[in-house]
Subunit: 439 residues, 2 copies
């Protein structure tokens, strides 16, 4: 049997502690499967004295991640601290420069510096694996980077934030408001005390930026993502969507268009009978549409200590199963030097169907005026209905429009036009419709 | 750049021809991604002179697969002929004995001889990749063999036969009979002229046998699978299932139980709001439940020239990206020498819920008698209803039972008891219920 693979771990929070326990309790099975033992020989974390529920003997303790990365006698540096900058970024750079393989679950770091880190890794002949960084336990990185080799991807999209999906599912199933569901998510530990990063879509955007690069072979462009969170989604939207045969999900979508790559994160209406519409609660899902394979959808746990640790372990095992320096899997699917510049498709050029919910004064001619605004902008309507609202005791009413495929620019112009009208009460709600290719 | 990877292909049907065209038209992208060119240097097929729509110059033609495997100047032997024995089996053996890497889409060959072939491959340091053999374009082999390393799998199940899923979906959506839908599947090329291999469940069983070994580390036991096809499923079953919130799918299920591994292929009721219930038409889906990762579900095309070629190409690309002899991924997830004997769990010990549909004479006391038979066998009922059948003009009526979890032995005994009763008309229909872990 080959020499043991020596692993150093920086960060012993939920994921790190899970990982150590799994590697320790399954040492024999792992050695058989990988053809060599996996040994944790070095660790570091903020607090040395905390009891983490595992035996630390045989592991060298380092005061800082940077010191561990620079000095430990290891083959693989596992970064589980998080953060786009600081110790996580510095220690990963140091490890790669030393020619060590790196495994990380750090989406923020990859979204910010993935190309730079991939370049170092590929120059040094090191592997940089990050399955856990996107959609937790779902092996979407492996699918894009390995299984789909040779395919031209046209679209990748998914539910990549468990907090948002939990809130939207609960709103629909229990008829509760956004605020009530957010509170429940916080109580259950699904949402942070400051939930902005999740519910505003930033977390999804980081993951999407990584998927875009893997799917389209373009440089990471995490700052070029159209972003709309779910704070604005009301129970009225969810009920109207259900009536029309749709569910609302926060999707990250990256899509090849004639004018470039579209990257967007926003609440989206998906057909009720599509598979992705049935993905509920904190579960994640990622769909990949490509020209040879067709559509592939993967559904699984997007977060949690064990699911994340499982993905990290899979990455470590891949390294254990290959000879040192023998693997040439490009970190980002395409070798870093061959990544194309990111060419942004303008959001105004986005094409698709739209759901529009208007609250209007209850007077004659409103329907006709709304329809006329749509027609002026060449927007063809699939339906235009007045939705009764039981609690609506005032004189306003709700109009719901669903359009056939049109452009974002046309919709914005039409909505601007409607906003000029005196019958409009409050802000119009506009939600994009996304259809799986098959449906 | 490293030397080109030289590929020999045996079999130039739909999949083989797709593969050659893809490798030829995407030569540049593949060379960049893989770090070396992929070149098809040798081919063989039944008919040399057929026009297959690609340029064969530069490819050495061999009269037989065995000759190609034995003599061609290649690094990888790709077997796309099919069949558990004969030329496919012989040529794969010859190639592996020579130390060549092998890629195959041949589920029958693997189900019959997978352990023997894996043993040769591992002795010779060759790779044997077969992503296309199970669920076509869905990367389930990679997920089990690589991503889930270190996990203990408790159950793997899926929709792995497009023909059956197409027929069951069409029966439900259009209210047609099994025979009508089979004819339509044959017209569309989804079913063979002799459909027995698909509709009796044998095709699913081959795939399941391979997944069982990857999931549980036991030797392949394709002959130890409980098998029940879909020919017996009537539109009445489908409608009754829908009424009760279920859909009927032909599933292959392998499950760890106290007495061993259960392998079974049969029509199954899945909850309507589960993700797998929404997988329609010829699409396949595979779910894997494991202790660390949780539940992973993958949905995608299970067949077709392009989807299969994509999976084969992914396998070839994995070889291209690694140095010769550098990979130690065990062919069947566990090294062949370390596979455990298959310990069969008896079908009579199977535990789960059941759906039972009885046609009975319309007389007093039948409900009570049926309920008593269940109680005698300690079967607890979730529901027992009489279902009106519009076309039922005779004096019989339909009784539908749904049980809580019980054993197959108890159900068989209860059904035997009911068969003794004089009120029973025709054969009772018994369909097992399968629940995703999350639901």
């Amino acid at each position: 049997m080959a020499d043991a693979l020596k692993v150093g771990i920086a960060g012993l929070g939920t994921v790190g502690a899970s990982l150590v326990k799994i590697i320790q309790t399954r040492a024999n099975e792992l050695a058989v499967t990988c053809g060599r033992a996996i040994e944790i020989t070095a660790i570091t974390a903020r607090d040395r004295n905390r009891d983490r529920g595992f035996d630390m003997s045989g592991m060298a303790w380092f005061e800082t991640p940077e010191k561990l990365a620079a000095e430990a006698d290891i083959d693989v540096f596992v970064e589980l601290m998080g953060g786009a900058t600081g110790a996580a970024a510095d220690s990963v750079r140091i490890a790669l420069e030393r020619g060590l393989h790196v495994v990380t679950a750090n989406k923020a770091l990859l979204a910010a510096s993935g190309v730079e880190l991939a370049t170092i890794a590929e120059e040094k002949g090191a592997l940089l694996n990050f399955e856990a960084a996107v959609a937790g336990g779902i092996p979407v990185i492996k699918a894009l980077r390995e299984s789909l080799t040779g395919n031209t991807v046209s679209r990748v999209y998914g539910i990549m934030n468990g907090t948002c999906n939990y809130i939207l599912t609960k709103m629909e199933k229990e008829g509760l408001s956004f605020e009530e569901c957010l509170k429940e998510a916080q109580r259950l530990g699904y949402a942070e005390a400051d939930p902005a990063f999740d519910i505003e879509g930033n977390d999804t955007a980081h993951k999407l930026a990584i998927l875009t690069t893997l799917a389209f072979g373009t440089k990471i462009a995490a700052d070029e993502i159209y972003l709309e969170g779910i704070t604005n989604i009301s129970i009225d939207d969810i009920l109207a969507a259900a009536d029309l045969g749709y569910r609302i999900k926060l999707l990250g979508v990256a899509q090849r268009t004639e004018s470039g790559i579209e990257q967007r994160v926003h609440p989206t209406m998906v057909p009720h009978d599509s598979v992705i519409a049935q993905v509920d609660g904190v579960t994640n899902a990622v769909a990949i549409e490509s020209d040879i394979l067709g559509e592939l959808l993967m559904v699984g746990p997007g977060a949690g200590g064990n699911a994340t640790a499982s993905a990290v372990l899979g990455d470590i095992a891949d390294i254990a199963k290959s000879q040192p320096g023998a693997q040439r899997v490009p970190v980002l699917g395409t070798p870093a030097v061959a990544l194309a510049p990111y060419q942004k498709a303008r959001m105004r050029s986005h094409e698709g169907g739209y759901f529009i919910r208007l609250t209007v004064a209850d007077r004659t001619g409103v329907f006709a005026s709304v329809a006329a605004r749509m027609a002026e902008n060449n927007i063809s309507l699939e339906s235009i209905v007045q939705r009764p609202k039981p609690a609506q005791t005032d004189t306003s009413k709700t109009i719901i429009l669903v359009t056939h495929a049109t452009t974002e620019a046309s919709i914005r112009k039409a909505v601007e036009g409607i906003k000029q009208e005196t019958y409009l009460v409050g802000e119009p709600q506009v939600i994009r419709i996304e259809r799986p290719r098959a449906s």
